[in-house]
């Protein structure tokens, strides 16, 4: 496959070559890893072997170190962070951390979760060339390989575009083209679809599958959403609560294999494809998977449809009139009208790059627009932020919204410093199981904990409108259920308006009173089936 590999095998005597074949796997043995010398093990005495030449999905509840495991397999840890306190990682018999980046990238390649933080050059072409320049390939060879990779990832129309102007899905296609150029023997995927709309995600995985079938390299993917991989992956492995990797469970090829497979997913608290969130929530009630003190969801769902007369008194909590949005000289929305009522929940759907986030940004006053946006009847000034305390914000990455120096401060920020505030904050933090971490910085929490804190921190504030950008992004089932439950409770109790964006149609229709969609520069009510 690669010159490196050919050179090595050519120089080995035949018996050694055979021996090498036996080690073609990704192997963890008694591996323990911690981020800080004085901290706890994030991975403890983990053993397991992933055979080569297959597409394997690794799943399991959040916070068990799946991504950490990938970074260890990629040889990026412990060089970039942390230390291995016992055991070892071997990829095809080699220690990936001992290789230089130039040699390592032919052994392991990575697709990252966050498409915004993986490029260092300006245009698609330059970024792709960068990969091969690193391997000191001659310009003519780079040009030839570039054409092939661009063609393979469907990037011909985008090749001279600036990377910053691409949507999340397009960026991940560029990332795929990068690993296509580097041709690693092991491709490691860290939830690369977490932020993509279903169509972009499908395209990516189909390209990956056809490539894998022809080149027979190995793929290990970490993902919460097993449905992405139906018909694509070979094996499912689960990272179990005791820290071991389960035996391989084949992905169902026939219809009659599905029930047993679904049963397995359900037992391990994973999202069962095609099953409603409501049903899955009922099955999880009282389970330790739910990150709530009581282990029970409050069961806040969409409110029963209210009679139209009740909504008509007073101006809507949020209204868009004649709203036109542009980005990079392209129209995202043209003369859109919509009004959103207090006390109700709205979901906003749309392909990645369609302008969902830009719309939220316009409301927040980051980006300019034509037309008007009104909050409770008051017109906002384009490009200027609304008055403090009128708009609550739950950002896609909870780290974008933290304002406090500690977990406790995060909940009480902006509130009067009284005994009552403190008591309320304590009960909120106990409910989401974070009370014992109250003195930590919010940034020291795990991803799932940060998410919970991000939503809970709005419970004490009194802003009438809540905007949520992809609240369930990269969350496992239990966290998704708990989050939506929390959000809806916040909204219902305070009589607030909640507007959230998502790529998950099912989530939108199950939790929102109304679902809107941005499609072809228009904002309109969405139908349940598309």
């Amino acid at each position: 496959m690669t010159t490196l590999r050919m050179v090595r095998s050519a120089s080995l005597p035949p018996q050694l070559k055979f021996k090498r074949q036996q080690h073609m796997s990704l192997c963890f043995s008694h591996l323990s890893f911690r981020y800080f010398a004085d901290g706890p093990d994030v991975i403890h005495q983990l053993s397991g072997e992933i055979p080569d030449g297959r597409i394997t999905v690794l799943a399991g509840p959040s916070g068990q170190g799946k991504s950490t495991l990938l970074y260890l397999a990629a040889g990026l840890y412990p060089d970039a962070a942390g230390q291995i306190s016992s055991g070892q990682v071997r990829v095809d018999g080699q220690d990936p951390a001992a290789l230089s980046p130039g040699a390592r990238c032919r052994l392991t390649g990575l697709l990252f979760q966050n498409p915004d933080l993986q490029f260092c050059l300006d245009t698609v072409e330059n970024e792709l060339a960068f990969c091969l320049e690193n391997l000191a390939q001659p310009p003519a060879a780079i040009s030839a390989a570039l054409e092939e990779a661009i063609d393979f990832s469907g990037l011909s129309a985008l090749r001279r575009r600036q990377l910053v102007s691409l949507s999340g899905g397009e960026k991940q296609r560029v990332a795929l083209a990068c690993v296509r150029l580097l041709q690693p023997r092991w491709l490691l995927l860290d939830e690369p679809l977490a932020n993509l709309d279903p169509a972009s995600g499908r395209f990516l995985l189909q390209r990956l599958q056809s490539w894998q079938q022809e080149a027979r390299f190995s793929v290990l993917a970490v993902d919460h959403r097993i449905e992405n991989w139906l018909g694509i992956a070979d094996d499912l492995r689960l990272l179990q609560p005791d820290g071991s990797i389960s035996a391989a469970w084949p992905f169902p090829r026939r219809r009659q294999d599905r029930p047993a497979f679904d049963q397995l997913l359900q037992q391990h608290g994973l999202i069962v494809p095609g099953r409603s969130y409501r049903e899955q929530a009922a099955r999880l009630q009282g389970s330790p998977f739910l990150p709530l003190a009581t282990g029970r969801l409050a069961g806040a769902g969409p409110a029963p449809a209210e009679p139209a007369t009740e909504q008509s008194d007073g101006p809507p909590a949020l209204a868009l009139q004649n709203l036109t949005l542009q980005a990079g000289g392209r129209y995202l929305l043209r003369e859109a009208d919509a009004s959103f009522q207090a006390g109700r929940v709205y979901a906003l759907l749309g392909q990645s790059g369609c302008g969902k986030s830009t719309l939220l940004r316009a409301i927040l006053g980051f980006s300019r627009y034509q037309g008007s946006i009104r909050l409770a009847g008051r017109r906002l000034r384009a490009g200027r932020p609304p008055a403090p305390g009128t708009l609550g914000l739950v950002t896609q990455s909870p780290q974008d919204q933290f304002v406090g120096g500690s977990v406790l401060e995060e909940v009480t920020a902006g509130q009067p410093d009284t005994e009552q505030t403190r008591r309320k904050a304590e009960s909120i933090l106990r409910q989401i199981r974070l009370w014992r971490f109250r003195d930590l910085s919010p940034y020291q929490l795990s991803q799932g904990q940060q998410r919970r804190l991000g939503v809970a921190s709005l419970l004490l504030s009194s802003c009438p409108v809540l905007l949520c950008d992809e609240p369930t992004y990269a969350q496992d089932l239990a966290a998704t259920l708990a989050l939506m439950d929390q959000l809806l409770t916040v909204c219902r109790e305070g009589g607030r308006l909640l507007l959230f964006t998502t790529h998950d149609r099912q989530l939108a229709f199950e939790y929102a009173d109304e679902v809107w969609e941005i499609q072809g520069e228009a904002l309109k009510r969405a139908a349940a089936e598309s």
Binding site: A74, A80, P101
Partner: protein
């Protein structure tokens, strides 16, 4: 301008700037600025963008002019007022201006024109140079280690993200009803955390693509040094004649 070798262009313009600093000729400063502006327009810089960058310069220049006019050092006045020195600075001998006033005006002009003379070459480089070509040529012509040039490029790529992050951080505080000033420590904290996280993520991403800070690498596009680059260098050194006049 865009076709020139970026490294040599930067070097030429740097030398030009240093020459201007040594010569202290207001009219030379202003004509260099005008020439740079013309070159920018000829290389396709939008006039509006140019105007926007020049506006703060005008304020800056005006400020310096009045400083120089009102608070001239005694030595400066004597120097400028000397019969031989006054004429090249102020070609028009205005009878309405007293000798002292004339030297004050010229003092102010020296200070103010300087701003334009320096900004011209700087803007010319910034607005007509492709960053990736610059980085490639720094590696090819000046042999700078990729660790620094590509590290810089990766950071530069976060420019729009950082602006967004700044706005986002302010919005997060506003959402909680907290007012913050642009330099508030509470505002700085999330931005600094992002800086650390980004640098880790970008470094990991680059190394996973085989990047090594001091390894030999090839270049997909070569950035040659042509005759025109040397001619441009010569052009930039032209003001040096001023030393001999």
């Amino acid at each position: 301008m865009r076709q020139l070798n970026p490294s040599l262009k930067a070097l030429s313009l740097l030398l030009l700037t240093l020459l201007l600093a040594a010569l202290r000729q207001p009219w030379l400063n202003l004509s260099v600025f005008a020439l740079c502006g013309l070159l920018m327009l000829l290389s396709g810089v939008r006039p509006r963008a140019l105007l926007l960058t020049v506006l703060p310069l005008l304020i800056l220049g005006a400020g310096l002019f009045f400083s120089g006019y009102r608070f001239a050092a005694d030595s400066a006045l004597r120097q400028v007022a000397a019969p031989g020195a006054a004429s090249p600075v102020l070609p028009f001998k205005n009878s309405l201006l007293s000798q002292a006033d004339a030297s004050r005006v010229s003092n102010g002009l020296v200070l103010a024109s300087r701003v334009f003379g320096f900004a011209g070459p700087g803007l010319l480089l910034a607005l007509t140079t492709d960053r990736v070509r610059l980085v490639r040529s720094l590696g090819q012509s000046l042999r700078l280690p990729p660790l620094f040039t590509y590290g810089l490029l990766a950071a530069w790529g976060m420019f729009s993200q950082m602006n967004l992050e700044y706005a986002r951080a302010r919005a997060a505080f506003r959402a909680r009803g907290i007012r913050v000033t642009p330099l508030s420590l509470r505002l700085l904290r999330p931005l600094l955390i992002k800086s650390v996280r980004w640098s880790e993520a970008l470094a990991i991403a680059m190394e996973s693509k085989g990047f090594e800070g001091h390894a030999r690498r090839s270049s997909w596009r070569t950035v040659p040094i042509r005759l025109s680059d040397w001619l441009f260098l010569g052009l930039c050194l032209l003001p040096a004649i001023g030393f001999f006049i």
